[in-house]
Amino acid sequence: MPHVMFTSALKTFFPNLKEEYIEADSIEALLSELEKKHHGIQGYLVDEKGQIREHVKFYIDNEPYDIKVHTELKKSAQIHIIQAISGG
């Protein structure tokens, strides 16, 4: 099951957030599962068009997420959700 970890900055808004294993075969599915567990979190990570926000970064197995490459999440995937340095 993919293992997802979060920047501690998100805990300001979602105090119960902690790293966890989530059944998901794509980033889209992962976002959907996260929203079920942490109501509202999707709006922090993606905009209203579903695009990952400009200054939020997803890493998969330590590589930046690229929708063209990472079409499917492996069961062993490690996902880091990070606030990008570019956002200040």
Partner: protein, 353 residues
């Protein structure tokens, strides 16, 4: 009385002592950039946070800041070419038993909520205005126009006035279905046609409480006043060339001829004239402007942003982009420093108790 100061690093609440001193009482949303602050008629506080990472968010407090609850944020529809970048203003209007909330955004759009922020509706008549393609970005570094001012009418709930930079002043009399630009008399020196119907930069617009037909605006190209609810504007810029360019403006609550602005030397410098921080005041509807600088520093390199000045009775307050905060209890005759160590001040609001 309390004072809410929205900065790039949090919302500060000051309380006024019986000796008219302002004491810091609370800091909310520490480290977060405040986009807008509004108190509604029920004394609920509405706050917009323009997170750089997480997107714009909206909060409400029903207990004067003891606790805040996040409500939903406006969203452009999937068909819209726009995505929400930031929130510039929050306003409210009482319609019968309903309290309608408005939010002005970048890209320029007006959203309303009739369920206290649970859901928001975009006013498409404005977003899809036939002149939209001619609207330009309005702030330094901004590549999209934004809606920063909303004025609602107590007489006619279907009448709204908005200010968009750079597009101008627009009004609706049918609740937002149709909008008319009302920029007659304004000049836009940054356009080939300086008297263009659309394309103006009304930095801020104020409406008289005693005579709602009187509007003032601190525009990119000077100071203007209207006595016919914005149908026509008259140039009341300081003839000596001092009170011309600026962002913030306050008008007296009980006299539609009194106004205060805090000018910069020029658009390209954006610092006070000769580096002397000064507020300019008119008591004769803009025929004459005098500087009020007693207690204000020199040298100073401050710019006062569009929502960073407020008035309540004889009390005035303004905050600056350099984190300085000044107040006066005598309509600007004398100024006192509250703080010189804040982050950029975006908005200030007096709160009656």
């Amino acid at each position: 009385m309390r004072l809410a100061v929205g900065t790039d690093k949090g919302l500060l609440i000051y309380k006024q002592t019986e000796h008219n001193e302002w004491v810091l009482a609370d800091i909310h949303f520490i480290g977060m950039p405040i986009g807008a602050f509004h108190t509604d008629k029920n004394q609920h506080w509405w706050v917009a946070i323009n997170h750089k990472h997480w997107g714009p968010k909206v909060y409400v407090s029903a207990n004067m800041g003891e606790t805040f609850t996040e409500v939903s944020s406006p969203k452009f529809s999937t068909e819209s070419p726009f995505t929400l970048k930031s929130i510039w203003t929050i306003e409210s209007q009482n319609i019968g038993n309903i309290q309608r909330l408005y939010i002005g955004t970048e890209p320029a759009a007006l959203f309303y909520s009739d369920d206290l922020g649970e859901s928001w509706n975009e006013i498409n008549g404005l977003s899809n205005h036939p002149s939209r393609s001619s609207w330009q970005g309005g702030g330094k570094g901004s590549n999209s126009p934004f809606l920063h001012t909303v004025l609602s009418s107590s007489e006619n709930e279907n009448h709204l006035i908005v200010g968009i930079s750079c597009a101008g002043v627009f009004q609706t009399y049918d609740g937002g279905i149709t909008w008319q630009p009302t920029n007659t008399g304004l000049k836009a020196f940054f356009l080939p046609n300086t008297e263009s119907v659309v394309g103006h930069d009304p930095h801020t617009i104020c409406q008289s409480k005693t005579n709602p037909n009187v509007l003032w605006q601190q525009n990119h190209c000077g100071i203007y006043r209207s006595e016919d609810l914005g149908k026509t504007w008259r140039d009341v810029t300081d003839k000596r060339g001092k009170a011309v360019y600026g962002f913030a403006m306050a008008i007296a609550e009980d006299n539609d001829s009194e106004a205060w602005v805090i000018p910069a030397q020029s658009d390209h410098l954006r610092i006070p004239h000769q580096q002397k921080l000064a507020v300019y005041y008119t008591k004769d509807a803009g025929q004459n402007w005098e500087s009020l600088e007693n207690g204000l520093p020199k040298p100073a390199f401050d710019l006062i942003l569009r929502d960073a000045m407020d008035i309540k009775g004889n009390d005035l307050v303004f905050g600056t982009n350099n984190g300085n905060l000044y107040t006066s209890i005598d309509k600007g005759e004398h100024w006192t420093t509250i703080s010189q160590n804040l982050s950029t001040v975006r908005c200030v609001t007096f709160i009656s108790e």
